[in-house]
Amino acid sequence: MQTVKMVITGPFSSGKTEFIRSISEIDVVTTERGITSDAERAIKESTTVAMDFGRITVDDDLVLYLFGTPGQRRFDFMWEILAEGMLGFVVMVDSTKPETFREAKSILETFRAYAPTPYVVAANKQDHGEAWNTDDLRIALRIEEGVKLLPCVARDKESVKTVLLELLYSILEEMES
């Protein structure tokens, strides 16, 4: 049985767990625990400590694993472990929270340094009225033209499928180049 891995990363509360939950065939295995800081508690009650884990079985011989990274910097020692051997990665950005853009860019650069694999940026919460549009986000995050920056709603399965497919197309393109 061959297994391949993709990593879903991004800042705290950017929607990584929800993204994996929308597409995984198993209940997402999360290692969450209660939030300790007031600022973080105001956003959600629990957070991913080590990783989320989802699975998509292709057939008897092939399984895709989706790993979600912990969004908080104090758990960044886990990132390198999760990045090992990944086929590609998705950087989730909460389009409604410009205060997290700098962190998103920093995470993106860190993962690029871990492994030179293809990646896409998913601009989550595009269904919110306060969301920055993708053109503005591209400039704000200084994402190069060749990198896909995709509108996303992490709780919508079709939207998640589109993001994963775009990442796979990028991986294919790189193999063919």
Partner: protein, 297 residues
Amino acid sequence: MPLQGNLRDFSTTQLLNLINLAGKTGTLTLFEGVKTGEKDAVGGDKMTPGRERARISFKVGKLILAALGGQDGNLVSVLNKAGKLTDEQARIIRERARNTSDKALALLLINANYVTQRDIVSSIQQHTLDVVYNLLGWSEGPFRFEDNSLPSSDRILVPIDLENVIIEGARRIKEVEQLNSHLPNLDMALKFPDNPREKFKGIHLSVEEWRVVSFVNPKNTIRQIAKANNMSEVEIRRIIYGLEQAGLVEIVRPAAAEVPAGAVASGSGKPQVPAARKAPPVQKTVVNRLIDKIRSI
């Protein structure tokens, strides 16, 4: 939908860059921040927009008008500030042309030979740049960009390329950073060197420099001198830097201020990035199978 956020997270320079690159048309409004008592996603104080601090308009990525909150920014004030109209002329024109639009007033002033068209354009341009350079130093406060919102049609709009503004703004920010790093602590004091008479011979100081010099005394902190002269932190730092470079004053550094705070181990909290690691080889057929599977979900 409006582009909104806080300058703390997305600086004015970054906003100008975005507006320039995206060729946006609209108005950017900067506000004083009113703390809500809640925290945002990164632990900063959440703020709602309070009093308007500044308003800047753009057309297809070009700066066309800027005004600080509390300033009328009309043509008479701008020409008066630029020295093209005297205070008396400005007062009379304000009285007589109270309900006249800027455009109509400009025609009257040109026809009456008070000013030339070039005077008007250069004064408005300089005023706009002064406002924008001023707010480039702001580091906090909510902002909102309203697409396609433009000033009223009676205002005179002078388009200015943003590239140079951004470069000059970045240069000024860098200068402020250098001044801050040179003089990180305004609670230090100044003293004259051992032979001040000799050093001051033949030196021409500006009014502001003399004001600072007149307060030089190890008992006065730099902060107190700035306050007494109604100077901003940037102004006092710039003046002291010049005086110090000319050898006219010496900064009396408290022992604890020998190493600027934050200079030690800067960036040491960053995670160490290991050498790039390639993914294990995966065949194209595997990727195609994954694509087919995800399409079918």
